[in-house]
């Protein structure tokens, strides 16, 4: 019983690389460039259903459909931009793992730099203000203070 199970496990493990490749090998292409484009696209396109998978990794029904659609488009000679445009027109920029630089994306890039700059500037200004600060007492006052201290000490 145990042995059968071990054998089953061995076969299962050995066939893993074959299964992993299944998404590719099921399709035939006219030339290696098409196959490379298909791989590239299915890696870059994100499965809308499963959020954090590309359509090459996901086995969701929708990912299979999108993979099939990508295959058909690549096979019939569409270039990368045409496939991306087709997908974005239906599923939005969400479907791309490498989205274009929209204002929202730009904010994400710029905001951290901006915050560091503002913080640095504030620290610099505070430091300078402290250095430039006038002494609390002018010369005459300072003398009077010292006198007062002496007086008190003598009175003790």
């Amino acid at each position: 019983m145990m042995k059968t199970f071990q054998r089953f496990l061995a076969v299962l493990l050995l066939s893993l690389p074959i299964m992993a490749n299944a998404a590719i090998s099921a399709h035939e292409f006219d030339n290696p460039e098409q196959e490379e484009l298909f791989r590239e696209l299915t890696r870059e396109l994100r499965c809308p259903k499963c959020q954090n998978n590309n359509i090459s990794d996901s086995n969701a029904g929708l990912a299979q459909d999108l993979r099939e659609k990508t295959y058909q488009m690549v096979k019939s000679g569409s270039d990368k931009q045409e496939v991306l445009d087709y997908m974005v027109a239906r599923y939005g920029n969400f479907v791309r793992y490498d989205p274009p630089l929209t204002p929202a994306v730009l904010t994400l890039w710029i905001a951290p730099v901006l915050i560091i700059l503002i913080g640095g500037f504030t620290v610099w200004r505070l430091a300078r203000r402290r250095k430039d600060a006038k002494p609390a007492l002018d010369v005459a006052e300072q003398e009077r203070l010292e006198q007062l201290i002496k007086q008190t000490e003598q009175e003790k």
Binding site: P48, K49, Q51, D65, K69, V88, R90, Y91, G92, F94
Partner: protein, 176 residues
């Protein structure tokens, strides 16, 4: 003095802005994607009627009056839960078009016979062709379409009495 108020208010405003942004993020559903088809007409299609294979429908069925396009399938448990409410919506006079999505025709017809048919028109999309053009990524989904055949809103997940009253009915009433 003005300057001091400014230096005091700036971080406060920045903080409030962040707080509102993050608070919203706390309750937003990341699985709900915004449709890019809002404001665009329903894509062109030709699909069979679910009951009769020789009867074809196209995008012309969406012209004339506001209606809902409900994407459903028998393999979708949430659709079953939603179906009863769709029946009652239909009784109230809400016009609904059904899009049977990547499903078995025989099972789908049986479902409609057993649970009732709230749909004015039943489209059969076995390969998910129209669904792909609509950007459907799961079932159920419901599209709000105005009398010109333009998509105005997409609701992901089931339509039920609660979200219909709270959000969806006003949107549907606002369609022209």
């Amino acid at each position: 003095m003005n300057k001091r108020i400014f230096y005091f208010l700036l971080p406060l405003i920045a903080f409030l802005f962040m707080a509102v942004f993050l608070y919203r993020g706390l309750y937003s559903d990341a699985t709900e994607l915004e449709s890019v088809l809002i404001g665009k007409p329903v894509p062109q299609f030709t699909l069979q009627d679910i009951y009769q294979q020789d009867k074809q429908h196209d995008a012309a069925i969406f012209k004339g009056e506001p209606l809902l396009l409900n994407v459903w399938a028998t393999w979708c448990p949430t659709c079953r839960a939603e179906h009863t409410f769709l029946n009652s919506l239909a009784e109230q006079g809400v016009k609904i078009v059904g899009l049977n999505y990547k499903d078995d025709r025989v099972k789908a017809i049986k479902w409609l016979e057993q649970l009732g048919n709230p749909y004015q028109v039943n489209l059969y999309d076995g390969k998910g062709l129209l669904a792909l053009d609509l950007g459907v990524y799961g079932a159920p989904e419901t599209y709000f379409i105005d009398s010109q055949g333009v998509i105005r809103y997409r609701h992901v997940g089931d339509v039920n009495a609660r979200n219909w009253q709270a959000e969806l009915a006003p949107i549907f009433a606002g369609l022209d």
